[in-house]
Amino acid sequence: MGFYLLSYLCIFVFILATAYRIYRQITLPIHVRWELYPVQHETAARAAYGGSYLEEVNWWEKTHKRSLFNELRYMLPEILFIRGLWKENRSLWRISFPFHFGLYLMIATSGLLVVHALVILGSDYPAAPGGTIKSLLDGLIVVTGWTGLVLGNIGSLGLLSKRWTEPELRNYSSFSDYFNILFIFLFFVSALAAAVFTDPLLVGAKAYAFGLLTGGLPLNGYAPGQSIAGGVAIVSASLLAAYIPLTHMSHMFMKYFLYHKVKWDDAQNRRGGRIEAAIMENLELKPTWRANHVDADGRKSWRDIASSAPKEK
């Protein structure tokens, strides 16, 4: 039961930390525009060369055409295959891609394991269900699981080696940078060892996911931690889930804000609109910058200061 308790606790931390990160972002004040082109929700013709609606005469009189399709067409290869790194830093991509894709496949495998457990629960448990869906899930779990583990091991070892051996990475790396990769590697290598030596069809993983959903009910007599490698894999995966949102590795999901709330945020401020209302709130904030020319005293607002002359010379 200790394994399950640890997993529950880690999932709880993951949810809490992720929610906090997202909450913090969505409650920040609106910032000035700082977009960078190409902005991929532009029309396909413009996004191809990095153009914007500002290229149109009297652009404020026109409806800004946005293309979700175009955005998705860009984002999917970016997320799945790390296209930006392929283009700009090919040698790093060769190891970063297997690393990230390995992680994605692990996430996908986790999802499949949960579906698998739900299918069992939906049948006459404890009788083992059969049928096409079950067979399909069994096959998919083995394919995604094994592929993810192999890629993840290659990627994390490659990243570790590159960071350690290349001065331009090593000179900027701290203990935590190595620790993070080693931590992920520990999961990948232990899970692969468990699969290779004791559980090639990932029966244990399926049973563990079932146990997680049922408060520890055993499936086919399974008990977590029957092999050392399997136990380490469960513990490291659980701890990783809790750890990732606490670190810069949260870029896995925070990239949404980096792209959509900054890099591609080209939303116009229209009179009487939501953005204008938010700006007006910001202009009432009272800065305390101390340089003479700012002339802030904690009582004057941004609006007061912006409409005054600098206090010097």
Partner: protein
């Protein structure tokens, strides 16, 4: 000298943290090989003996050395107080979210370094990496402002905070042109250019430290006198009167430049530097607008005749003051829209950044001159003879106008129509390289900073220009079209510094000069290559 550097080295006192030896800069091709052994001339020890000079071979700010330890400590505390304010919404609502995201998610993959022309051209000196100064700030922030930071710093990256760290960091924030090419290539979306911008702000808004060209002679003079050039309204009107006369002399076409026309369709705002350094640009705009029959005006009110907003590069407060003045002048003139002249940073400042500052009736429509000009050229109101521009032309993309605003094609469509010898640089558009004059560098030339800019900052652009004209005969005049005043200033300087007019017959100018040069109504050519007219009248 050790070429490899860690962020923690910034705090270790030495006379010069990074020196460029002869031959270390990226090589230039023939006939410029004689510059390959040239390096930045040493600072005059007498002139800088009271200034902080320990970063590299130049200084941009000229920070006075503190008189004693107590002063040093007070400055360190003030720096920390400013750093804290960068993360408070009351003080930094303008950039809080972008800053937090970029501070927290860098994977230190160095992809940004390969995109940076300063880093590449310097001979790959570590201190010029985009993430070097960003990483210094991240470490200081985590160690000195996060709870338990002094303990966790051993795990997440340590750095000492002392006066040396701070003085060098201030200078280092002026070795980046804020071109944001690094941010374009970051797979995560981290913007180390933004962090540089925020470092500059911290120093200016909290400590009153900024290059005098940007602050005292820049925004302060702009708001006090009317223009960062020092021209008051009367001088501006005199200059324009002179331009009117000159234009008729140059082209044989009489032009009237309107002032303060209430209710005009367009308020055109130039970078006032054009009036002094490139008056033909102001004259060319007037010629085109008049010939096209537009309803337009200039403003003779202080600040209203100078589109620059140097606050964009170092100080949100000064930025806001200038932007509000620009908008207020247009509001009172009751114009339908503001059109930004050929000035990249002014484009971005008033059109994009100020979009989240101006509210109510200050939020007037703003348009790029590239767009207005394209509309005129395509309208058929003007007749062109492209053969008048029958010489090699390449286009420089101002970062602020192109990468930061997405105004890419209008200027190209114009060139394709009026300049048969137009060819692109490689790369171009949103992937362009900065001219080296970005973020104020074009107007900063104290001490030996201009040499650093010409040798390091603008070197990539110079190589790009040479490459664009590869295969053209040396004796053929070649035109670099740079629709931005600061870019033109930087390109003028590299042409002069490398004697490129003599060696490669390189000339430069704006877009409007090319348009007027091709107008059939002009009796004489607008563009001349030295003494040689670009076409025979």
């Amino acid at each position: 000298m050790n070429n490899q550097m860690k962020p923690s080295n910034l705090s270790k006192p030495s006379d010069c943290l990074c020196h460029i030896e002869p031959g270390e800069l990226s090589p230039l091709p023939a006939p410029y090989e004689d510059f390959n052994q040239v390096t930045i001339p040493p600072l005059n020890p007498e002139k800088v003996k009271h200034l902080e000079t320990s970063l590299d071979d130049t200084i941009a700010i000229g920070i006075p050395k503190p008189a004693n330890k107590e002063e040093e400590e007070a400055l360190v505390l003030r720096f920390l107080s400013g750093l804290k304010k960068l993360f408070e919404k009351e003080n930094n609502w303008t950039f809080l979210q972008p800053l937090m995201l970029s501070m927290e998610h860098c994977a230190k993959c160095q992809t940004c370094s390969n995109a940076c022309p300063v880093y590449e051209m310097s001979g790959r000196k570590d201190i010029y990496r985009p993430m070097f100064r960003a990483e210094v700030l991240r470490r200081i922030y985590k160690k000195y402002l996060k709870p338990g930071g002094k303990i966790t710093a051993k795990l997440t990256g340590d750095i000492d905070l002392n006066w040396t760290t701070i003085a060098r960091l201030a200078e280092l924030s002026y070795r980046c042109t804020l071109c944001r090419r690094c941010a374009t290539v970051c797979p995560i979306g981290v913007d180390n250019g933004l962090i540089t911008h925020e470092i500059r702000k911290l120093f200016s808004q909290e400590m009153g430290i900024a290059p005098k060209e940007l602050h005292d002679k820049g925004t302060v003079q702009h708001l006090r006198v009317g223009s960062s050039t020092g021209m008051n309204p009367l001088a501006a009107k005199d200059s324009v009167e002179f331009i009117q006369e000159e234009m008729e002399e140059i082209t044989g076409y009489k032009v009237e430049i309107p002032w303060d026309v209430e209710g005009a369709d367009i308020l055109l705002i130039h970078n006032a530097g054009e009036m002094l350094a490139w008056p033909e640009n102001v004259g060319a705009f007037a010629t085109i607008f008049q010939a096209a029959g537009l309803s337009w005006t200039l403003s003779s009110e202080a600040v209203g005749y100078d589109a620059v907003n140097y606050g964009l590069w170092y100080d949100d407060v000064q930025f806001s003051r200038v932007a509000v003045r620009h908008a207020d002048i247009a509001r009172r003139l009751k114009v339908k829209k503001i059109v930004m002249g050929e000035c990249g940073h002014a484009h971005k400042a008033l059109t994009v950044i100020a979009d989240r500052l101006l509210t109510g009736d200050l939020n007037l429509p703003r348009e790029s001159a590239m767009v207005t000009l394209e509309e005129i050229v395509r309208s058929g109101k003007l007749q062109f003879d492209p053969l008048r521009n029958d010489f090699p032309v390449t286009l420089h993309d101002p970062c602020n106008m192109v990468r930061s605003m997405g105004i890419v094609e209008p200027q190209r469509r114009i060139l394709r129509k009026i300049a048969p010898g137009f060819r692109e640089m490689t790369p171009h558009g949103v992937e362009n390289y900065c001219c080296g004059g970005g973020s104020g560098f074009a107007i900063m030339s104290g001490y030996n900073f201009a040499q650093w800019r010409n040798l390091v900052g603008s070197r990539k652009k110079f190589l790009q220009i040479l490459n664009a004209f590869e295969g053209e005969p040396r004796e053929a005049p070649k035109y670099v079209c740079a629709p931005c005043s600061n870019c033109k200033g930087a390109i003028r300087d590299i042409i002069n510094y490398y004697h490129a007019e003599e060696r490669s017959r390189l000339y430069y100018g704006g877009l409007v000069e090319l348009i007027v040069n091709a107008m059939v109504d002009m009796k004489k050519p607008m563009i001349r290559f030295g003494d040689e007219p670009s076409w025979r009248s």
